[in-house]
């Protein structure tokens, strides 16, 4: 093993230890499917490992990993686009099947997840990145390759859409 390879492996191990669970959770929130999130998270780290040697030394590894994860999620959502053509009752049934009611806090979390999944991906991604992952609009713009103004607009619309979507789940709240 070359010294460069050893450094790459050490860096990958550090990134993997630190970000594997957050990336997995991020993908799960985006997709709402645990098995698919695990598959995609694996692909994220396989891609990351391959691209790591070419990554600039001053790169923001966290943002870089989330960008890879977001691209993987977009690809997956494009493949799942067919679901958008299903009649609304069937979509609701699928969502309900994906998040069956659970006791205690599970009910609340499932309602949040269902409300989130009703948002179009172009709104869902910036909302999660800003609200859950804590990124700034400028970082999200770089990550998604769009303008800061576009991110601000999408974030605002995402919040409004989520407010309405979540209201369907929790009529007395939000």
């Amino acid at each position: 093993m070359t010294p460069g390879q050893a450094e790459t492996d050490a860096l990958f191990e550090r990134l993997f230890t630190e970000f594997s669970t957050p990336i997995l959770s991020y993908l799960h929130r985006l997709l709402g499917d645990r098995a698919q999130a695990e598959d995609l998270a694996q692909d994220v780290f396989v891609r990351a490992y391959r691209a790591l040697p070419a990554l600039p030394g001053d790169a923001n590894h966290r943002a870089w990993l989330y960008r890879i994860a977001t691209n993987c999620a977009y690809d997956a959502l494009r493949r799942k686009r067919l679901i958008a053509w299903l009649p609304l009752p069937e979509r609701e049934t699928r969502l309900a099947a994906a998040f069956p009611p659970e006791p205690d806090d599970g009910v609340q979390h499932d309602a949040v997840q269902r409300a989130l999944l009703r948002l179009p991906p172009r709104y869902r991604v910036p909302l999660i990145l800003f609200s859950v992952q804590g990124y700034s609009t400028e970082e999200i713009a770089k990550m998604l390759g769009i303008s800061v103004g576009a991110v601000k607009t999408r974030l605002y619309r995402a919040r409004e859409a989520f407010r309405q979507s979540y209201a369907q789940e929790q009529p007395d709240e939000v």
């Binding site: 390879q5 990958f12 993997f16 594997s20 669970t21 957050p22 997995l24 959770s25 799960h28 929130r29 645990r34 098995a35 698919q36 999130a37 695990e38 598959d39 995609l40 998270a41 694996q42 692909d43 780290f45 396989v46 990351a48 490992y49 391959r50 806090d105 609340q108 979390h109 949040v112 997840q113 989130l116 909302l127 999660i128 800003f130 609200s131 859950v132 700034s136 609009t137 601000k152 607009t153 974030l155 605002y156 995402a158 919040r159 409004e160 989520f162 407010r163 979540y166 709240e173 939000v174």
Partner: protein
């Protein structure tokens, strides 16, 4: 600042610059609606942030780490689920191909055990006594066919089959068209028309039998050469091969008894190609039980059954085993040599 312009700033309130936030706060101080909207956005952050982190499934971290390591990379671009499905499809194809190939396997071939296992499964899945009986008959015909193909190919292998004794030529018995030479087996009790189970080995153009078990007699002893019409009728009633299966070679002595005989499909021509070597003159091992035990004269027409487990010949015992006396009371009139309890295992 107007309400319809302040929305995007409220959505990203936490990152507003001091100057921008001051303007927004001034508007909020006099606008309850926008204040409520900011509160709802703040609640959104708390709600979304409270979503639990997904715990990786057991083994997931190791799996991902292994997948990312050099030399273990996935070059297919498929996800884990897709790879699992592809693997399952490949295995199904392999199994299907193996089952297809094994259909022509002969004893001694690599896939022969797979063929037999498939047959056993078919038997277990067959519903109805008639269907099961028919399947057993078909499988027995296949056993005879396999033995015939082995003999034709000059291959040596262990065989077992059931068939009907046709005649004896120069020490070689013809059983359902297959030449059988008895080895250490007393064939004195065999008679044309008997239905027997043969265990042996294909050697030198014949089946060298080390065990021959009489499943049903064509004639009750001690007059094995006296044909009884009832025997042929009984054989037909038990689902034996029909008369259309009767082989062309017939012994004049046993013509009536051959009504139920069966010639295996594709079997070798009898006797003509078989060298008469080693006639069945071997005597039973000293100390062994008598070679022949005639069926009970009180029940000559009872359906035969194989002896119960444990009552068969042990090492050194004579291998020609006649049906036990007075058997068949529990088997009813539908018992057949291929449906009896002793034959469940093929």
């Amino acid at each position: 600042m107007r309400c319809d312009r302040i929305g995007p700033d409220l959505a990203r309130y936490r990152e507003l610059s001091p100057q921008c936030r001051e303007q927004v706060d001034r508007h909020l101080a006099c606008c309850p609606a926008c204040t409520a909207r900011l509160a709802s956005y703040s609640a959104q952050d708390q709600t979304l942030g409270a979503l639990p982190m997904l715990r990786p499934a057991p083994g997931w971290l190791e799996r991902v780490r292994a997948a990312a390591q050099p030399g273990r990379r996935f070059s297919t671009g498929l996800t884990v689920t897709q790879r699992a499905l592809a693997l399952a499809a490949a295995l199904a194809l392999l199994l299907g191909a193996s089952l297809t190939v094994s259909a022509t396997a002969l004893p001694g071939d690599l896939l022969y055990s797979l063929k037999r296992a498939q047959e056993t499964l078919r038997l277990h899945l067959t519903v109805g006594e008639d269907a099961e009986s028919a399947l057993r008959e078909a499988l027995q015909a296949q056993r005879r066919q396999e033995a015939g193909r082995l003999i034709q190919a000059g291959r040596a292998a262990q065989v077992e089959f059931e068939g009907q004794v046709e005649r004896r030529d120069d020490g070689v018995w013809l059983i359902s068209g297959l030449p059988v030479r008895l080895r250490d087996v007393d064939g004195a009790s065999l008679a044309a028309g008997d239905w027997v189970a043969v265990h042996g080995r294909t050697v030198g153009g014949v089946v060298e039998a080390h065990q021959v078990r009489v499943l049903t007699r064509a004639h009750p002893h001690p007059t094995p050469h006296t044909p009884t019409p009832a025997a042929g009728q009984r054989a037909q009633q038990r689902g034996r091969p029909s008369s259309s299966e009767t082989g062309p070679a017939q012994s004049p002595d046993h013509t009536p008894a051959r009504q139920g005989s069966a010639a295996p499909h594709g079997s070798t021509k009898p006797a003509a190609t078989v060298a008469p070597q080693g006639a069945a003159t071997a005597a039973p091992t000293p100390g062994a039980t008598p070679a022949v035990e005639a069926p009970s004269p009180t029940a000559p027409n009872q359906p035969p059954q194989s002896p119960p487990p444990g009552s068969g010949p042990g090492p050194g015992a004579p291998a020609v085993t006649p049906p036990g006396p007075g058997l068949g009371s529990g088997g009813g009139g539908t018992a057949s040599p291929t449906t009896g309890g002793a034959h469940k295992g093929f």
